[in-house]
């Protein structure tokens, strides 16, 4: 039996980490779960967001959290653009998801190589001073570099959930996800709605990227570690449900953290992918699926 303090700290750290994963997965839950667009480049966009925040903070001494004000809108616009290409080249032609996958795979790869050419493979980190501070709650440590991403990701999820459930536009997007044809009969343009939703999903990726820079140093290929996590969470969370996403993410974070503490950090990457393979094999509708 491991000492209680160690166990409690491991679980809390996993909770904080999992909360951040939920922020990374939120955008993918929208694009993959609601729009049926398997954007496997989503984690790569999160890393682009982290690098954008890094450049802003290194060049103009802008705090990473403030830089989100620039990063999030520009990622929204990028999302509109990417969706336009995706729709024009693949969705419009109908039945060829294979090429769409290859397209996102290519985007991910090109982005990664461009980052390597521009920044090298060194780890980049933020110099914001709160990143080194740690709060104490009794014997449990709450480092700000983990607490801020946890809270920030929570804010992302709440905002996205309110947008989808409470606004007219958000409900229309949920409508597209449910019935493409019916929305058209209501006189709305499904392509426009999906474009906006994809823009939102990339905007969330940008926001998660800012949080990623605070959480840990980044290097160009770090996004690959997140592919398994993001899709494991999206599937486990029940495809398109943001509360389900949060629960699945926290669960994964805790299990991953316990694994890396008690079995060794080199095993951690297999946890999320093993989780994913297991979910797909046993319960593809997810923990909270209907």
């Amino acid at each position: 039996m491991p000492p209680f303090d160690l166990l409690a700290n491991a679980i809390v750290a996993g909770l904080l980490l999992g909360g951040f994963y939920a922020g990374v997965a939120a955008g993918a839950t929208i694009s993959f779960g609601l729009l049926d667009i398997a954007n496997i480049a989503h984690p790569a966009f999160v890393v682009f967001g982290a690098y954008a925040a890094f450049v802003l903070s290194a060049q103009f001494q802008i705090d990473p959290l403030v830089s989100a004000l620039v990063v999030v809108p520009s990622f929204y616009v990028a999302g509109l653009l990417v969706y336009q290409i995706y729709h024009w080249a693949f969705e419009r032609r109908g039945d060829d998801p294979m090429r769409g996958l290859a397209f996102f795979f290519g985007l991910m790869f090109v982005g990664e190589v461009l980052l390597i050419l521009m920044f090298g493979v060194d780890y980049r980190y933020t110099s914001a001073n709160y990143a080194a501070t740690t709060l104490k709650l009794g014997k449990i440590a709450l480092p700000l570099r983990q607490l801020i991403p946890f809270l920030g990701a929570g804010a992302i999820l709440v905002a996205a959930q309110l947008f989808l459930r409470r606004t007219f536009l958000g409900r229309a997007i949920l409508g597209v996800a449910q019935d493409h044809t019916a929305i058209r009969l209501m006189g709305a343009n499904p392509v426009r709605l999906k474009r906006i939703a994809f823009g939102v999903s990339l905007a969330l990726a940008g926001a998660a990227g800012v949080l990623l820079l605070i959480l840990e140093p980044v290097e160009p290929s770090i996004g690959r570690d997140f592919i398994g996590r993001v899709f494991a969470i999206a599937v486990l969370g029940g495809m398109g449900s943001l509360p389900g996403t949060w629960i699945a993410a926290v669960l994964l974070g805790v299990i991953e953290n316990l694994t890396s503490i008690f079995a060794g950090a080199s095993w951690a990457p297999a946890v999320s992918f093993g989780f994913l393979l297991l979910t797909l094999a046993v319960r593809p509708s997810g923990l909270f699926g209907r």
Partner: protein, 314 residues
């Protein structure tokens, strides 16, 4: 007998190619040629599942790495000749393909694609933690000093890879002209309709996954001896997956000469670019070509050249 004739022609072409490489009298030709041939095999193997059946495999590196590490593990137990290692690597990779396919192929295609991405990471993690085959530190593969008939070991390896390429191409073409190939195409075009008309979809998909995985594993077995020092990060490099997907999609996925054309063009130009410019720029070019072709030329080069869609009567 059309198959035998095609196979005989392929063997003759391969023999001429080998003789031509030998006549240059420079080992570099063999080193570069090995990589290009490896990509011909990988691209054709990928295309058996990806091009004919329409299921995307992102885990090329997993199958290649399984082949390579099967060879390493066997070599530690009992040093076998390279062809035996290739068969062993192919068998293990084929079994893994069968297992992964059995778990996920009943779901939508997208889940299979994501599962293969996952597979690459899981296998890499297992190998990284497996000290017997070197773990994360890597392992040296010592080439035998001398090899009968062939002067140098690299010539021997090129010969094996060339033979494998001939086999993969012949199998690809045999699939295209057979009833099984028609079943594959039916699945690609409309799986539900295929199922409804009595095509045994799950069985065909499993056959394709196993074949495709086995050929990738066979291509992987000689890899340790080619690079002489194998570590997980090089054996499971993402660039294998990118290239193996880009080559068929650029060449064209509907017929066997699509991936061959793509692999030869991209493989040879990459050898040139890597030497003259840099390997990062080379990967960047591959990525942009991949995006450009899937967006603008969905039928690839053979579509642009007007060769796609032409089908010989089975």
């Amino acid at each position: 007998m059309a198959f035998m004739r095609f196979f005989a022609i392929a063997v003759v072409v391969a023999a001429c190619l080998f003789a031509a490489m030998k006549s240059v009298g420079n080992d570099y030709v063999f080193y570069a040629g090995y990589t290009v041939l490896e990509y011909v095999v990988l691209a054709c193997a990928w295309n058996i599942l990806g091009g004919y059946v329409g299921y995307v495999n992102f885990g090329v590196a997993a199958f290649l790495g399984i082949g390579a590490y099967t060879g390493i593990a066997l070599g530690k137990i009992a040093p076998l000749p390279l062809p035996a290692m290739m068969f062993a690597g192919g068998a293990v990779a084929g079994l893994v393909g069968l297992g992964a396919g059995y778990l996920t192929l009943r779901l939508r295609g997208i889940f299979f694609a994501i599962a293969t991405l996952a597979l690459a990471v899981v296998v890499q993690t297992l190998v990284t933690n497996w000290e017997f085959v070197g773990g994360s530190a890597g392992v040296y593969a010592i080439r035998p000093k001398h090899i009968a008939i062939f002067g140098s070991y690299i010539e021997y390896m090129v010969f094996l890879m060339l033979s494998l390429a001939v086999v993969v191409i012949a199998v690809s073409r045999a699939i295209e002209t057979s009833g099984m190939g028609l079943g594959f195409i039916a699945i690609r075009d409309d799986e539900i309709a295929a199922e409804a008309t009595g095509v045994p979809t799950l069985r065909l998909k499993l056959i394709a996954t196993t074949l495709s995985g086995a050929f990738m594993g066979m291509a992987g077995a000689p890899l340790p001896y080619y690079i002489t020092f194998l570590e997980p990060s090089s054996a499971f490099n993402l660039s294998y997956a990118v290239n193996s997907i880009a080559m068929p999609l650029i060449g064209g996925t509907t017929a066997w000469f699509g991936p061959v054309l793509g692999a030869l063009l991209l493989g040879i130009s990459q050898q040139v670019v890597t030497v003259t410019i840099s390997s990062e720029v080379n990967l960047l070019i591959v990525g942009f070509l991949l995006i450009g072709f899937v967006v603008l030329a969905p039928q690839g080069l053979i579509g642009l050249l007007g060769l796609a869609g032409r089908r010989r009567a089975a």
